[in-house]
Symmetry: C2
Subunit: 241 residues, 2 copies
């Protein structure tokens, strides 16, 4: 089955967690809004959001078309893809655990976004810069260590470090941890340099994921949009302490 991924064409954003899963799986997919031609481009994406007669419409991108199914919400898309592409454990307990991790990553990602947009997504960063500075101070001091410490504990809590977040099996949560570490390094290089030594499990996992053949090929390709100042992870030096 050829999947159609609908996400904004110029940012990694939340869509990147889906792109990484599709790429690792070697799945047949088209990144609709990044293509031109009939049924492609941003208008094809917006058609779903603007059609107020459509039942089952997603609230926002990313969403995935898989046959007749239209699946929205990043964690929900991954919940669908995971077991179909060997990116989730086979048993229910394992799948719930990976979904739980993905939802915790999603919470963290929302907080990352809100460091530069604490007041409103509808305003520019420069219109909420002072508040962004205040929010990010707490984010760096309290939220980053709390989330990263939690994920590190998941990997290393039992004393014997696990290979992956769900134990011995690679899952989409590992791909998402890779994206988290990569994004935080881009957005907060100084802070990460200071914090990283406390999270050897996570940085090791980041490196192992980056070295996987399909992921390495993806990262080196033009399909990987570079980090930039429009996505979730943005580098504003004044927010990096």
């Amino acid at each position: 089955m050829k999947y159609k991924l609908y996400y904004w064409p110029s940012i990694q954003g939340r869509g990147e967690f889906v792109r990484l899963a599709l790429e690792e799986a070697g799945a047949d997919y088209v990144d609709v809004a990044r293509r031109s031609g009939r049924g492609m481009g941003v208008p094809a994406l917006e058609r779903f959001l603007e059609d107020d007669k459509l039942t089952g419409a997603p609230y926002a991108p990313p969403f995935l078309k898989a046959g007749k199914l239209i699946i929205g919400q990043t964690a929900n898309i991954l919940l669908y893809l995971g077991p179909r592409h060997g990116l989730a454990p086979r048993n229910e307990a394992g799948r719930l655990w990976v979904n739980q991790l993905q939802l915790t990553i999603a919470d963290f990602v929302t907080e990352v976004h809100d460091t530069h947009h604490p007041i409103a997504g509808a305003l520019y960063y420069r219109q909420q810069k002072t508040k962004a500075r205040r929010r990010t101070k707490y984010f760096r001091a309290e939220r980053m260590p709390k989330f990263l410490g939690y994920f590190e504990q998941v990997l290393s809590g039992t004393g014997r470090r696990k290979r992956y977040m769900a134990g011995n099996t690679l899952s989409y949560a590992d791909l998402s941890v890779f994206q988290l570490i990569a994004g935080l390094r881009y957005a907060f290089p100084k802070t990460m340099k200071r914090l990283e030594p406390d999270y050897p499990g996570l940085t090791g996992l980041h490196d192992r994921i980056a070295a996987r053949p399909n992921i390495a090929a993806y990262l080196a390709s033009k399909r990987r949009i570079p980090f930039n100042q429009y996505g979730i992870f943005r580098h504003y030096p004044e927010l990096d302490g």
Copy 2:
């Protein structure tokens, strides 16, 4: 099976979405932190969060103990409970759809919380009151209508109003919509009075859920914690426009 629900004892918060599902299902459960005695109370909850050797520990409450399983993240708990208690469609497409709706509700709930805490959860409301006022102005003008309009469209988009969010079958997403409407009415009574006429589907659904025997009994019981100024939905008149 007797479930153990772990959530803060003095607020509805995110735990309330789980409580409503357990109550509607007539499930056998204990709200651990609200009980006293051996293995009960807040210490029993905190034990899970503080044990840094525990694998599979949740990041935060609510979490549910179901036999040996410990399930964290509200939407994930509901994903587990739904099909076991007739609160989710039987087929995969339907379950993904209900999960998608629940995740969109969760996004909205996070934005509701951040109206009174735009800078940091670690600070008091009075320490971020000016920013809260600014954030809530955008929340009322843009975010509330966008989210409510979306959920109304889910119910009524095809012209023929559906009975429930997933069509003809009650699901936990309907219970969550009830909680959303109830919470927004508590937090923003003036704004809701103005907006509600635009969302007859949602207010009708709220009323039908409130009238269900198990839910009505729950709402009238002491198990339902009243809304208050410590939860997600808080009533600060200065934020209500």
